[in-house]
Amino acid sequence: MTVTTPTARRGLGLRGREAVAGYLFLLPWLIGLLCFVIGPMVASGYFSFAKYDIVNTPEFVGLKNYQDIFTKDRLFWTSLKLTFRYAIIVVPLSLIGSLAAAMLLNQALKGTTLFRTFFFLPHLTPVAASAVLWAWMFNPDVGPINYFIRNNLGIENAPGWFRDPQWAMSGLIIMAMWGAIGGNTMLIFLAGLQGVPQELYEAASIDGAGIWTKFRNVTIPLLTPTIFFNMVLGIIGALRVFTAAFVATAGGPAYATWFYSLHIYTRAFKYFEMGYASALAWILFFIMFVFTFIQFRASRRWVYYAGEVNE
């Protein structure tokens, strides 16, 4: 790049001009990164060691917030347990469901585009609207789900769903499945499936492989990067679950759906304990970081990148 162009004549060299222009294009994001990401992060880190109720200035209290969270806050442990339980069920189910749906759409059925749209529309539905909609679907008395359970399955003692501490979580999980199975995860799997070279299937057929063997030894290994990507995003998303529970159950009944983000929200914006809530948020960040880190470490054992071998 030492070719002299007319622009390079004045003052700065071509390299210098390029650098200045590069920084200028970057400027809005640099400001955004500092003001809306890094700055707030640093502030939040400080608040987590402070007592801060907005009205009075933050008062440094050391590790007190963290100490209180781990030793005194029973709802913290409740919310952590519930959030994990939710994630442990939702993540594998939605991964398996999405993969199955993607494979179905990859079978060259007539009307595939239509099926894809039907599967995808629930994912587009705003979570707040879908929470309202499912609360009505799950209405214990006149909802179609309980009607089906009573009438067609013959079970008299149908669940109370969002009004029953024992069933509220299941209701939210079903609702999450409805929105997740045919969503982005499915589209990403579909693109991944279509990237599997057909020769591999043909070669496997010649070797006498059946459907299951082909799935197990061709499809799955080649999809591992996609599965990995979807799993990392899925776990992060599940640990952050908020709106569905906030609108459909408000964390109840009897704290049965008191997810971690609801706990942060309540402490911050109901009790205005900004320091305490910041500490809660950092714990969530730490948990998510550890999970992602472990997954990346573990991924070396099971994720197969075709490019690594060929190139």
Binding site: T5, R15, E18, A19, G22, Y23, F25, L26, P28, W29, G32, L33, C35, F36, V37, M41, F47, I54, A101, Q107, L109, L114, T117, F118, F120, L121, P122, L124, T125, P126, A128, A129, L133, W134, A135, M137, D141, V142, P144, G182, N184, L187, I188, L190, Q194, Y201, S205, I236, R240, F242, T243, F246, V247, S261, A268, A277, A281, L284, F285, M288
Partner: protein
């Protein structure tokens, strides 16, 4: 090209000539089974929508009828009009259009600028800043939510749309930036070079050559952002207080409390369902109008991410 990938789906195994009628029968059985699964799954996915639409057209007395019926005896389209009478629903829709529209505009424009900077210019610290940008993808919004609230509180911006719009103009977030950068990397560098030799400045190259070539990527980015903004709940919920200023997401939550108000003489779930449908409909329309871009964009994010 991606378009072609998305539609090609015939598996060679199916095209193979079948030798005996037994295999043919088995094949037919397999196909029938697949169609059955696809149709049943479609019905299951669509059923909540159907129930919502039918409920939204029922009269109050039909809502709690037992046994429940799917269809209203006579569809009451007036329910949809009534939603606007019992709440400032029209205002909320309009607010959402403005907020989501401006935020999308700002996010896509500034993400394009940033992505272009990362894709085309060489300067000290570029890769470090890019890495840092990708790192912010990991950061949960929960961590910055509280300090941002406090920041906008200090600035006197609470209960206004500024917190929902202004930050979008500063980069649009790591995901969009990454997406734009990846797209710009696919455009040949010769385009820029040729224009530069002709004496065009960097901004002009970006504006007149790069952006027009990037319309598919920009549209994809815009649709994904708009839907995200339209559906966003928590942040507007903590920022906005005045009922008339609500966006549609919080509006529906407010409407939910009206609908379940014990003081009201008759049940209002029909109105609630009508409101839910009206919140969802614009997204569905947008999706159908730009389905191609949308599906591609999501698929690309997964493959290249």
């Amino acid at each position: 090209m991606a378009q072609e990938v998305m539609t090609r789906s015939t598996t060679p195994a199916l095209r193979k000539p079948l030798t005996d009628s037994g295999a043919r029968r088995q094949q037919l059985l397999g196909r029938t089974l697949l169609y059955t699964i696809a149709i049943v799954a479609s019905i299951l996915f669509m059923m909540p929508f159907a129930w919502t639409v039918f409920s939204s057209l029922k009269s109050p007395s039909e809502l709690y009828m037992f046994p429940p019926s799917w269809l209203p005896t006579t569809p009451r389209f007036a329910n949809y009009a009534e939603v606007f009478d019992v709440s400032p629903f029209g205002r909320w829709l309009w607010n959402s259009v403005i907020v989501a529209g401006l935020a999308t505009f700002g996010a896509v424009l500034s993400a394009a600028l940033t992505g272009y900077s990362f894709a085309r210019f060489r300067y000290p610290g570029r890769d470090l800043i890019f890495l840092l940008t990708l790192g912010t993808l990991m950061l949960p919004a929960e961590v910055t939510l509280i300090p941002l609230y406090l920041l906008f509180n200090k600035a006197g911006w609470l209960d206004s749309y500024r917190p929902l719009i202004v930050p979008s103009f500063f980069g649009g977030g790591a995901f969009l930036i990454f997406m734009m950068r990846q797209f710009f990397l696919t455009l040949p560098r010769d385009l820029d070079e040729a224009a530069r030799i002709d004496g065009a400045g960097y901004l002009r190259i970006f504006w007149q050559i790069i952006l027009p070539l990037s319309i598919p990527a920009l549209v994809t980015a815009a649709i994904i952002t708009f839907i995200g903004e339209w559906n966003s709940f928590l942040f507007p919920y903590i920022i906005l207080n005045t009922k008339e200023k609500f966006t549609i997401g919080i509006g529906i939550k407010y409407f939910q409390t009206i609908a379940s108000n014990i003081d009201s003489i008759e049940p209002r779930e029909n109105l609630l369902m009508a409101a839910g449908m009206m919140m969802t409909a614009p997204i569905l329309v947008l999706f159908f109008a730009a389905q191609r871009y949308f599906v591609q964009g999501i698929a690309m994010s997964g493959i290249k991410g």
